[in-house]
Symmetry: C2
Subunit: 133 residues, 2 copies
Amino acid sequence: MNNENIVTVLKENKMRPSFIRVKIYTLLVESRIHPTVDEIYEQLSKEILTLSKTTVYNTLKLFIEKGIVKAINIEGNELRFEAQRGFHGHFKCRECGNIYDIPMNEKEITSVLEGFNIEDMQVLVSGICPDCE
Amino acid sequence: MNNENIVTVLKENKMRPSFIRVKIYTLLVESRIHPTVDEIYEQLSKEILTLSKTTVYNTLKLFIEKGIVKAINIEGNELRFEAQRGFHGHFKCRECGNIYDIPMNEKEITSVLEGFNIEDMQVLVSGICPDCE
DNA sequence: ATCATTGCAAACACTTTGCATACGC
DNA sequence: GCGTATGCAAAGTGTTTGCAATGAT
């Protein structure tokens, strides 16, 4: 997704495409690392020297409210973020720390939940990835 | 599971079945509420007036190391605990806060992960339950 | 000029740590 | 009496809040 598309997404969702918002959303769309707040902050503060962590928090909160970003709880107290896209699960390698997206059919899970109104779903798997075996 | 079984499980896993450990493990086995540290603390400190939250943390940490308890991350930063048993997912109702166990076949999820060494898996669904619709 | 965005500092909530005390065998 | 279990107080971590400063139109 190029810069113009990023701006378009923000505008479509009624957000002013400020420099920082474009940067944060671009990072989420282009990197596949499901970064934490700290990782986003470290990455962008190289370029935006006055960036504050509060702004990263505020911006992510806004993105989540607008529905273009999703928070994922890979582990304990480490909250991570990714741009919304089709349904998939996550695998975290205990050794290298990499997070892999897992293609997945949500029907297999939701079929059991008749009568429940499903709003969100997360599948988190952990263990050792093929590279670290 | 009666009191004697609880003691047996603790002993089998090389833990001294102290009063507090038996109480905490019993609560996890018998209640199905997937309590937070606070809920465990509130519940048990009625009876054990000198109980400290540190002890609840220590005990849960021990149980997790020994593999008889599992931590689950239902939402954001609220860590919950349950006694280990067969694989299942969780549904949390946004309205009433109840957490339901979802029967589930793990094979359907792991089949995609050939080459990965799977150690743990969590399925978390949220929305509105039939009672709150 | 006005309103939205950004950012500092402080508050907050949750969890862990270090060490002292108490308990069980 | 010795080693483990418990618990207080303090430190650590991640996140939110209040408000002031800055920026865009």
